[in-house]
């Protein structure tokens, strides 16, 4: 039976995992390579790392960090942040990423999804979508939620699937960072409209939230703070889910 994936997410600047709201009050949580190694050993099913400050200067160090992480883990690695052209995807895959996630660039230029999936295969192209409610509609937002687009969330989700995305990383900007749980209604809406895997992101604060995330039919559950702060170990989340009847890899 296919297991629900528990995916720690590392927000990275250069080689440090950070936590910060809108680039303010950025707090260093630890060394990215060390944290990646730890999560791989302690039962993470996959790792996600995002370059949250993909400036030209920082990028080189970030790519080196991807290379270093790929060397110390033996679980799949998804890398995103700052991906704007096809060569960015190639660079990250060559650095050792198994999948690359595209966000704003895909919204700006949807053809990039098709080009990327034709070149590298759908299995390694993840489209990250940030959703937010606006006037009773679910819309796509970009630039970390600061910029509203005209795209309707569900229309976009279906479109990225038909363009060849292998997976959707779905973050609700209405719940992200608040730790009150995933955005169940948004996630259900997305999973019931696409047939590719969906990773739920944004809002985990306690164990029950993981279970509620699973109920949205998302096959991957992504979390950052609850793991980085040490509030939960990966294995304790999995043991809890197993008790609730959710298939997990222990």
């Amino acid at each position: 039976m296919l297991k629900t994936r528990i995916i720690p997410c590392l927000d990275v600047i250069k080689n440090k995992v950070v936590k910060g709201v809108n680039f303010k009050n950025i707090k260093v949580m630890g060394n990215a390579v060390e944290m990646a190694r730890y999560y791989s050993l302690s039962g993470a099913d996959e790792l996600c790392m995002l370059d949250i400050n993909a400036s030209y200067q920082n990028r080189k160090t970030f790519i080196k960090t991807v290379e270093a992480i790929a060397k110390v883990i033996n679980i799949p690695l998804t890398v995103g942040g700052g991906v704007s052209v096809l060569s960015d995807i190639t660079d990250l895959l060559n650095a050792g990423a198994d999948k690359v996630s595209i966000n704003s660039a895909a919204v700006k230029n949807p053809k990039l999804i098709r080009q990327a999936s034709l070149k590298h295969g759908s299995q390694c192209i993840v489209v990250a979508i940030d959703g937010k409610r606006h006037e009773n509609k679910m819309k796509v937002v970009v630039k970390g939620g600061r910029e509203m687009t005209k795209k309707e969330l569900i229309v976009w989700a279906k479109q990225v699937q038909s363009l060849g995305a292998g997976e959707i990383l779905m973050t609700s900007m209405d719940t992200d960072g608040v730790q009150n749980g995933f955005d169940s209604s948004m996630l259900k809406k997305v999973t019931s409209n696409v047939s590719i895997p969906v990773i739920a992101s944004g809002g985990v604060g306690n164990l029950e939230h993981f279970y509620l995330g699973h109920l949205t039919k998302s096959t991957g559950l992504l979390a950052a703070s609850v793991f980085h702060s040490g509030k939960y170990k990966i294995q304790s989340v999995k043991k809890y889910l197993k008790k609730k009847g959710v298939p997990v890899r222990l």
Binding site: D45, N74, I75, S122, G166, S195
Partner: protein, 209 residues
């Protein structure tokens, strides 16, 4: 003592970094050497060949032909020499692949590669799933039964002889996750991404098979 030579084929179908790293760790301090195959090669120089692959069947076959790897690989396999194909590297052992178009495979293990059919299934089959052993084999000792491995694929081996199936996995229906004929192995999952059991499988293939 003469060193055994392991060939790792770079068919430009996904990254060979992880598998390269895994093999190096396994053979460290042992009488083996690793050579990356990127073009025409003399198959008689290799004791084992590993071919990892991602993406499309058609692409891998045409890459191998372009790189002039196809012919010596086919001869190598027709001589029943030791091989481990990963994901698409397994799939191309079949007679045909039906992806965007029908492509002729290496024709080593009878059967064909077709898409998962059910409309209810989330495709690709992506994530950790368990394998059930059909029989014992040096590369999968008993304790591999029911263990999870990392899969990512939309196509499966069909119309394969049961005697060529070492392990099955269930996703919507049962499909072959490890195949074998003579000295030739194929795994649908990615052992190089499958943590300790995945690494053990590669280790068993190299040291015990």
């Amino acid at each position: 003592m003469k060193q055994k030579v392991i060939g790792l084929i770079d068919g430009q179908s996904g990254n060979i970094g992880s598998i390269n790293k895994a093999i190096k760790e396994i053979i460290k301090g042992r009488p083996y050497q690793l050579k990356i195959i990127r073009g025409e090669f003399d198959y008689s120089l290799f004791n084992k060949i590993i071919l990892p692959g991602q993406g499309a069947y058609t692409t891998l076959i045409s890459n191998l032909k372009k790189l002039k790897i196809y012919k010596p690989l086919k001869t190598y396999l027709e001589n029943n020499c030791s091989y481990l194909g990963i994901c698409v590297g397994m799939q191309i052992l079949s007679d045909h692949g039906y992806e965007e178009k029908t492509t002729r495979g290496l024709g080593i293990i009878a059967g064909e590669i077709k898409k998962f059919k059910s409309k209810k299934l989330i495709i690709p089959h992506m994530g950790w799933n368990s394998i059930r052993l059909n029989k014992e084999d040096p590369i999968i000792t008993n304790n591999f039964d029911n263990k999870d491995f990392y899969f990512v694929h939309s196509y499966i081996f069909q119309n394969i002889k049961k005697s060529n199936v070492l392990a099955n996995t269930h996703y919507g229906k049962k499909f072959p996750s490890i195949v074998k004929k003579g000295n030739i192995y194929g795994v649908q999952f990615h052992p190089e991404k499958s943590h300790k059991y995945g690494l053990n499988l590669i280790k068993n293939y190299i040291l015990k098979s």
